[in-house]
Subunit: 234 residues, 2 copies
């Protein structure tokens, strides 16, 4: 699906009228994370506002909100652009995410209830099912849910919030990845081990597994980014 086609979709009808500008933030974030608005795209306020079915004011507020999250960059007197997706930045994000996931794994092993672990196991099997059928998008969905749920098991809402923010950056690259079957299988095996370590509540092992898992993700993302960069030279 082309960028234009996605942008042409008018989403006004879906807006829940009792909700607030959160809708605009959410829509705009999705456009950025899913790549409909490519990195370094200029955000024309008039055009975007029309597209999202509002006026410039709430749109501008949404842009400021996302600027604080780091998904858009503000250029004084020159508007805003979608944040660049530089390999260097991505490495930084992964280093921080590594520390956060390790922390979460450790805490989760101590604080997760049996019900939590059951829930993660359920998500895990959903993920396996989509992996078996080769449904990448659905696989990613459950994959994300597992990681988020693991974070939530740590019982630290602040940790979850920071994680989500940083993860949005990574997800942007994810949407461009074409996972080879080999790598995919490997990621799934890693998830098997992660689940196992959680069930045994082996915090030390879980930390290491999460670090490795993340390191592999980084390799994948870097390949995508460098391929993109060499492919679409500026």
């Amino acid at each position: 699906m082309s960028t234009a086609a996605i942008l042409d979709t008018n989403v006004t009808s879906l807006v829940d009228r009792r909700l607030l500008h959160e809708t605009v933030v959410s829509q705009l974030r999705d456009l950025i994370v899913q790549g409909a608005l490519a990195p370094e795209t200029k955000l024309n306020e008039r055009v975007l506002a029309e597209k999202l079915g509002t006026s410039r004011t709430p749109l501008r507020e949404a842009i400021k909100f996302l600027a604080s999250e780091g998904l858009v960059e503000l250029l004084p007197n020159r508007g805003a652009v979608v944040a660049a997706l530089k390999p260097e930045k991505m490495k930084e994000v992964f280093v921080v995410l590594g520390a956060l996931e390790a922390l979460a794994g450790d805490l989760a092993c101590r604080n997760a209830t049996d019900a939590d672990i059951t829930e993660i196991r359920a998500l895990h099997y959903h993920m396996l099912a989509h992996h078996a059928r080769g449904e990448l998008a659905q696989y990613f969905r459950y994959n994300q849910q597992i990681h988020i749920k693991l974070m939530e098991c740590a019982g630290n809402a602040t940790l979850v919030q920071v994680y989500r923010g940083l993860n949005a950056h990574v997800r942007r690259a994810r949407y461009m990845a074409n996972l080879s079957r080999e790598r995919w299988d490997k990621a799934v095996r890693e998830h098997e081990e992660i689940l196992d370590a959680l069930v045994r509540r082996d915090g030390v092992r879980l930390q290491g597994l999460l670090r490795d898992h993340l390191a592999n993700k980084l390799v994948l993302v870097m390949e995508v980014l460098t391929a993109m960069q060499s492919g679409a030279a500026r």
Copy 2:
């Protein structure tokens, strides 16, 4: 100085005319961090805008920006309030900060240049001087600068950004603290050790020291918060 007195200070004259609404974000953040706008204070747009010498539009954009940072909370159709300062939240923040500082310490031991370490040593002696004179505010200033500089030595801009955001929450409580001489001396001794570990580039030891230092800070902050909570019952 009373809250009213701080708020009555009109800062319009200080505004750099070529800069944008960033000024408002910065001013509003300072008002919150330094406690002029107490936790859970309702932000009246008309009043605040007048106080800051702008109209509601840039103010609202600033509020959205700070909402993303977590310093203010948005209440749909009911405006915004300064984020609450709950002990539970503070514990969460410290746990995450602990992981981030530990990471930074480890990276800094590897990546810091000798010039970086010289700079931190200089900041350290400034801090000692203000400690000796009992100048708490100045002491805090250099203390903050040391921690920020340590973060920067890690060579990870994303890490610094996340750290700054979370640290703003902690600083809010800091401004209310009345450090006893005993605790203060202890904190300074810890900083001596931290500097020593950095000079020797002993990453493992530095991580531990930073964790302990942070744990002690948490104890202090918690005392302040519980005292506040019992003092000013709702």
